[in-house]
Symmetry: C2
Subunit: 217 residues, 2 copies
DNA sequence: CTTTTATTGTGACGACGTCAAGATTGTTGA
DNA sequence: TCAACAATCTTGACGTCGTCACAATAAAAG
């Protein structure tokens, strides 16, 4: 989705320095490289090689490897926020939450390594303002969906945590393998395994109301 | 818990090679090092240094860094299985599942880095038989708890996935930070945040029965 | 006691991240 | 137009890393 935009920017943008914007090229090369080799196999030098620049060029733009991977993770959260927003638009009530959860799991299964980088890699700086802002943007979509599902103006904190935990846990377990039966590609069969979990999640979010031990009432 | 056992083994075991059992010492040093520096900061050479052996000694026992970290992860699953089993013993019915989930989250918050290594590190070989056996041992505890909570001899697959996803997602989100409010140690305040999620999880596992769209019946 | 095997150490290799210093290009102000 | 400056990129070096071939050592077997 970036080719045409890039061509436009090549003309309109002031082209601030030598290479065209190396920072963006490096970030995109880094994302591609991470997808290929895993977070662990990622290397700054290989990334520079693919961008056609010297091995130390990434350092000038991002400081160190953590800085670059933090940028990649932040972009991942922006993508996730967009995906969740588009999944919810044009719907209301409980189905909003179900559709958001489905999209959340789909995103994770489509880009599992980036997803892992976003949430649990010790190679990203979670204190980075840009990273946090991107995360909050995605989080806001979740808050809206939970409030909508419960028919309330604001999301209950416990319900919110539960909803997020359920879809996030499902995504994690499907990515990391322990739940997916052998043989069967990830995108197809695995995503179906999430259906029952999503149903139960929506069920509990909409029906559970803190009734402690009073099941006969 | 290993000092006295070690003393015993020093006598009873045939002491198969030079160092006493270097393999075990290396695995323990590796676990400690991972806890200190994170999975990413781990280094075979530093591990060997702490065990007081040559830099290539770990390679002779575990092949490469993945082999050693796989052993650490497998040990983590054995620990988890033990913890879950002890949490469930002496109880029955739905509370079993609640207690198991609580223990699951506690385990994750107590040893977050090892927990992360166990589930999603590209530095462990998930095809390793030892690793898989250890994982299945922990999984078996979960299966038992879900069956017990539903009063059935065998666990429903959908309910099982949902239960695991909920507790696992909660653990992940608490470890990785996005859910825990600033300032407040992990073990105390964070674990309390799981309570509502666990309640809802048990609620859905025991009450949801595939009633599709028939809310008025 | 000698031979064989299992366990550990030495040394080397290329790849990595990071830093300092120099080279190159764009910008700015007269 | 041109010189001074700042931003951008390259070169080269340093220490650390994982891994491998090979040597050394100790246990086991005969």
């Amino acid at each position: 989705m970036s080719e045409t935009i890039e061509a436009q920017e090549r003309v309109t943008a002031p082209r601030p320095y030598h290479h065209g914007d190396l920072a963006r090229v490096l970030a995109e090369a880094a994302a591609a490289l991470v997808r290929e080799t895993g977070v662990n196999g990622f290397s700054l030098r290989e990334c520079a090689r693919r961008a056609g620049v010297a091995h130390s060029a990434p350092g000038h733009h991002y400081g160190d490897v953590t800085g670059l991977l933090t940028e990649v993770a932040a972009r991942g959260f922006l993508d996730l926020a967009r995906a969740l927003a588009s999944a919810c638009s044009g719907t209301s009530g409980a189905p909003v939450l179900a559709r958001l959860a489905r999209r959340y799991v789909d995103f994770a299964l489509t880009d599992p390594i980036i997803f892992g980088l976003m949430f649990h890699s010790d190679r990203v700086n979670r204190g980075s303002p840009r990273f946090q802002r991107a995360g909050e943007e995605a989080f806001a979509q979740l808050v809206r969906a939970v409030a909508e599902a419960r028919g309330q103006p604001t999301a209950d904190a416990d319900a919110l945590r539960f909803a997020w935990a359920s879809m996030h846990g499902m995504a994690m377990l499907l990515i990391d393998g322990p739940l997916v039966p052998a043989g069967g590609n990830r995108r197809g069969g695995a995503a179906d395994l999430a259906t029952g979990t999503i149903e139960r999640m929506v069920f509990a979010v909409t029906r559970f109301d803190g009734q402690r031990k009073s099941r006969s009432g």
